[in-house]
């Protein structure tokens, strides 16, 4: 039998998306819109943080990195 904790973890993204739709959807009240924009701001900040971190961990010369990754074939 599937452990409930695990099923819950896997459904998280769906729940998050449903909230998004509700917040941004037509007919959302003032409170909802304010909550939505706060949430949207937080999401934008998280995305910025992620993209900054990706920039910081990747080698700056992308073309050289990609071209330099050459292997022999395996199985």
């Amino acid at each position: 039998m599937a452990p409930h904790t695990q099923g819950g973890a896997e459904r998280r993204p769906q729940d998050a998306r449903q909230e998004e739709t509700v917040d941004g959807g037509p007919g959302a009240g003032d409170a909802g819109a304010a909550g939505g924009s706060a949430q949207a701001r937080q999401q934008a900040e998280e995305l910025d943080g992620l993209l900054d971190e990706i920039d910081s961990v990747l080698e700056s010369n992308a073309e050289e990195f990609v071209r330099g990754f050459v292997q022999k074939g395996g199985q």
Partner: protein, 496 residues
């Protein structure tokens, strides 16, 4: 078979970037990488204390084969332990290279393709009864594997070629498969390899060797990949009618399907119909649901497998990839590439995006992009860091690997020459007492206890070390000694 033995072998790509100077070629870098392995086992092809196998394979690819596992989370933890082990070796190799004047960064990528289209694999092994009809493998299992990339593809940005622009593909491996079923590996990579080395009682079992899979980073994707394949095998073994999806040309089909993220590309079956990847998968999922409803779930993750299987097909057929954006590798990767592209105003053929594609598979725990995403909640976890770290030293408790691990660690503690492989356990000085353990689910073996007792009084002389004591040993954690012999000097302190 309620308990199926499964293992996965991963070939890693590696690249050394030298900074000011040119980096070392992969063969040289691989030699540095395996220096501690050679020091430890006097070979670059060894079984290690966690029961897995570590070796340099065709084309200088470092390879890690998990111990035999019968629980999916053990398999996922063991596979992921392989990434930690490679990282540990990479850090040491960088230091050794720097000491020799080759300072730089060593990248180990758990992917399947380089910038020139060379491919290397992720091979799954499933133990199946010898009575399984081979015919059903080609009519059912082969179409399942051809279309499984929807569920378990690692995703790839395909560079522009032959008049088609850069585009997404589900799979890294699909373009590199050349046959449906055969005995070849490098020469003509087949989807199912018939090399039949069951590492078990060959009268009862055979080994199903599947070499079509992509290397996965996501744990939920692994669960779906191994879990769905096991379910299809169970239905085949139970003789359940599953229809006939035998494809006219599996190789054309696998490529067509890989390059069509809508899942609507139709491919011809042998009996003249046209089916899409979603058709094939949805039909098998439906039968799997009925099968589980009738026979019950045979392990604790069956419901999760079915749920994610269905959600993934829904994501592909609806085009709403957000449904699986934290759970299935190709979608996790694609979401990130699209975010990077949006910020930089980049087109899909931008080198930066291919770099993101590759760096997603970097095994480095801080630098690897999949790890970055996971830390930020953009990838679902099933096993925690502690379990993975334990899996680098501890064999799965429910299979023969636990005996192998104990055998080799005990022989090492007593300083006795020994040889082990998947079935063989031999003390070099006592060749006539060599043990063949053909049952991969054996966890007790009186003959082995008797043999090890001849080495000395284990209870009195061996002290089992805990994880932290092992981590304090100077070499790679995965190669640390499991036992300390009482009366013997303590192991060397770590180098500072």
């Amino acid at each position: 078979m309620d308990r199926r033995v499964v293992g996965v072998e991963t070939e890693f790509g590696l690249a050394h970037h030298g900074g000011e100077r040119r980096g070392l070629p992969p063969e040289e870098a691989a030699r540095y990488l395996f220096r501690p392995v050679l020091d430890w086992g006097r070979s670059s092809n060894v079984f290690i204390p966690n029961g897995s196998r570590l070796y340099l394979d065709v084309g200088s690819h470092p390879e890690y084969a998990t111990a035999e596992c019968d629980r999916l989370t053990d398999l996922i933890a063991s596979d992921r332990a392989g990434e930690l082990i490679m990282h540990d070796l990479a850090v040491r190799a960088e230091q050794a290279m720097a000491a020799d004047g080759y300072a730089g960064t060593l990248y180990l990528l758990k992917n399947n393709i380089d910038s020139q289209g060379n491919s290397y694999g992720s091979h799954e092994n499933y133990l199946i009864p010898r009575t399984t009809h081979f015919r059903r493998l080609s009519t059912i299992l082969l179409p399942f594997l051809v279309t499984r990339q929807l569920l378990a593809g690692a995703g790839r940005i395909v560079p522009a070629a032959d008049g088609r622009g850069a585009h997404w593909a589900f799979s890294q491996r699909a373009d590199h498969m050349w046959e449906g079923i055969s005995s070849a590996t490098t020469r003509a990579r087949p989807i199912i390899n018939t090399r039949d080395e069951p590492h078990a009682d060959a009268g009862v079992h055979r080994r199903l060797h599947v070499i079509v899979g992509d290397s996965n980073m996501s744990e939920t994707t692994q669960l779906l990949r191994f879990g769905s394949t096991d379910l299809v095998l169970r239905m085949i073994e139970a003789g359940v009618p599953l229809g006939d999806f035998e494809l006219e040309d599996p190789i054309v089909a696998i490529r067509t399907i890989s390059h069509d993220l809508t899942g609507t590309a139709a491919v011809p079956t042998r009996d003249g119909r046209r089916v899409t990847a979603v058709d094939v998968q949805a039909a098998l999922l439906d039968r799997a649901r009925r099968f589980v409803a009738e026979h019950g779930a045979h392990h604790e993750h069956v419901d999760a497998v079915l749920e994610l299987w269905e959600r993934t097909l829904q994501a592909v057929s609806s085009g709403d990839h957000a449904l699986i954006e934290t759970d299935v590798d190709w979608a996790i990767k694609k979401r990130t590439v699209e975010d990077v592209a949006a910020r930089g105003g980049l087109e899909l053929d931008a080198p930066r995006l291919t770099q993101v594609d590759m760096a997603y598979h970097d095994v480095h725990p801080e630098r690897g992009l999949f790890r970055v995403l996971e830390r930020r909640g953009r990838a679902t976890r099933l096993v925690d860091d502690d379990a993975v770290r334990r899996a680098t030293v501890a064999p799965p408790a429910t299979t023969r690997a636990s005996l192998r691990g104990r055998f080799l660690s005990t022989a090492r503690a007593f300083g006795v020459e020994h040889q082990v492989d998947w079935v063989q356990h031999k003390l070099v000085d006592r060749p006539l007492e060599a043990l063949m353990l053909k049952d991969p689910l054996a966890v007790e073996e009186p003959r082995m206890e008797a043999l090890l007792d001849k080495l000395g009084d284990r209870a009195a002389r061996l002290q089992e070390l805990d994880l932290e004591q092992r981590a304090a040993q100077p070499g790679p954690l995965a190669l640390s000694e499991r036992y300390r012999v009482r009366g013997a000097p303590p192991p060397d302190p770590p180098l500072i």
